[in-house]
Symmetry: C2
């Protein structure tokens, strides 16, 4: 067996749990600027931060920047992750002989081909995503879109997961404002489940479930093209979904006007959450559709952005059962978030 240091990443699916897991020895080496709890000054942290303006050479290669003209200072950079979970240099796993490996009956194996990128949302260390203007936030969203469109040109890529970790207990290892894009050679389990239930709902009702989701007591806010709600069966207290008003299967259908509009509603939600819940760690995730979805399924599935503040941990019950315990009813969370006035 090769030493863990030099092994390539691998995807495995257990025959018991049916869950894909990305094995990625490179990830073990990630540094963390949250780890040291010793008193370091803000300026020291900034000097060491590879995501800051002037430290571009400390980063993995750039994919593109915004604005793209090299004469102007950058506002957003999309770069390769220096400790990628998946490898962009491995061959297409479907071109190889994709049979269960030596472990045979215990599960399936796939080469760890994929892309793992970082979106640096601002050149300035002290600026957070919610500090950006709706216009600037829109540019971050359009950077996601542009990168997804590039990744979609690879036949082996089946799904692109865009996500953000903010704060150490939401998993962030870097404090400079950033998000991540992981392009996978498989459709992940939450997406398959979402597709199946969307299809079932469509066949029963003739409608898309997210087109029908608007319920007054769950509504938080709305903009021209989006609504924000507390989902009916929120897994986490104060979980928020931002949903396009009109049916759209893929996030990367977002146009420039909608990006700014979404930027304004996202900013409002982040600011309300931060104000009401005292700047909690949070994650957001874009739930879109698989890249190669057959046209016949487009009417079923509707993308949305999920925001999860990390207020309570999880324990053995959630790990074991996959059920969640939420102490806050979503209609109560929605009322609080609807009524909170940010100063």
């Amino acid at each position: 067996m090769a030493s863990p240091q030099v092994r390539s990443p691998e995807l495995r699916k257990d025959s018991v749990t049916k869950r894909w897991v990305v094995f990625s020895p490179a990830r073990a080496k990630r540094p963390s600027d949250f780890k040291s709890k010793s008193p370091t000054t803000q300026s020291q942290q900034q000097q060491e931060c590879p995501f800051c303006l002037g430290h571009e050479h400390e980063c993995a290669p750039e994919i593109f920047r915004v604005p793209s003209s090299s004469g102007l200072p950058w506002k957003i950079r999309v770069i390769e992750n220096l400790y990628p979970a998946l490898s962009r240099t491995l061959g297409d796993p479907f071109a190889q002989n994709n049979n269960p490996n030596a472990s045979g009956s215990v599960g399936q194996v796939l080469g760890g081909f994929g892309f793992h990128d970082v979106v640096i949302e601002t050149p300035v260390h002290s600026v957070q995503l919610s500090d950006l203007s709706p216009q600037e936030l829109g540019e971050v969203l359009l950077a996601y879109k542009k990168r997804i469109q590039q990744l979609a040109t690879h036949d082996a890529i089946k799904y692109v997961q865009v996500f953000k970790n903010y704060g150490a207990s939401a998993g962030a290892s870097m404090s400079h404002s950033h998000s991540q894009i992981l392009a996978l050679p498989v459709v992940p389990p939450t997406v398959s489940t979402r597709l199946d239930s969307a299809k079932e709902f469509f066949h029963e009702t003739g409608k898309c479930s997210l087109c029908e989701v608007r319920v007054e007591d769950l509504l938080i806010d709305e903009s021209s093209h989006f609504i924000s709600i507390a989902p009916f069966a929120a897994s986490f207290p104060f979980e928020i979904w931002i949903i396009p008003r009109h049916h759209s299967s893929h996030f990367h259908e977002l146009d420039d006007a909608k990006a700014v509009d979404l930027g304004s509603l996202l900013k409002l939600m982040l600011r309300k959450m931060s104000f009401q819940l005292n700047n909690p760690p949070f994650n957001f995730m874009i739930h879109t559709s698989p890249l190669q979805l057959p046209d016949s399924q487009l009417p079923h599935i509707h993308w949305f952005l999920q925001i999860v503040p990390q207020l309570t941990g999880i324990g053995g019950f959630e790990l074991g059962s996959g059920c969640y315990i939420n102490p806050v009813f979503p209609e109560d969370a929605a009322k609080v978030l609807r009524e909170v006035h940010i100063p």
Copy 2:
């Protein structure tokens, strides 16, 4: 709408995610003896701990104790959870009219009937589960069994989740050694998935996937009736499964001799993990079968106990996709755990 204080728990299933969530306002009031980071002495903590010998009156009602004769001091107590996620006094949710509620198309609702118990594993605050003898650990396992058998008499209970949280970052709010038992009126998602994949595997191969799971490089240790392995697609670094050698669908089939044998292997795994990984927070979960499983499905499914040390957090990728990133290949973890010699 009733105020959150007086509302009964409720189960909801979102029509998008198909995930059951337990809404439980009572849980918001849980105390935590981990919360205060101020320097309190061990003895102060003990004096305040309701799970300690002599503090029985500070607990919710006892269900049973071990040994059962009232003349002897107790070694194990199974009690009601004072802040239960589900309510044992609500009516059977299936006897009521179980239709989607006012929110209609957005999902399903079920009354929050169920049982939520705590197993106090020792009367002594400073004793941890791995300090118990194999015999004593066997008694804890038999207490789970006895309680599951009692819960199985309720027709409305479909699945019983036994789990343990150890350490604050594994979710524990109480430091006194304990585990929990949650009896649910639904079969949770991980169990349905496990059943489906077991059935599929059985139909393809004529065998149970866990009867076939033994692979030399994933094996950690073995006892007369059990093996311990690093699972082929472990979601977490150093995750361990303890599996009965011979086919058994339900944990509560465990007899007295097997309980001691499992106690010895569980103790060994907990001690190896604690020694090798520096006493990490961890969870363990018993993955058993639904209570009312049709006889025809018994050959497919095989119970096991999963131990997960909490070494890395999760982030937006895992929350969004349901895929996990694991920096340690299970064959490497198995080798380390196989070879570690505890002093």
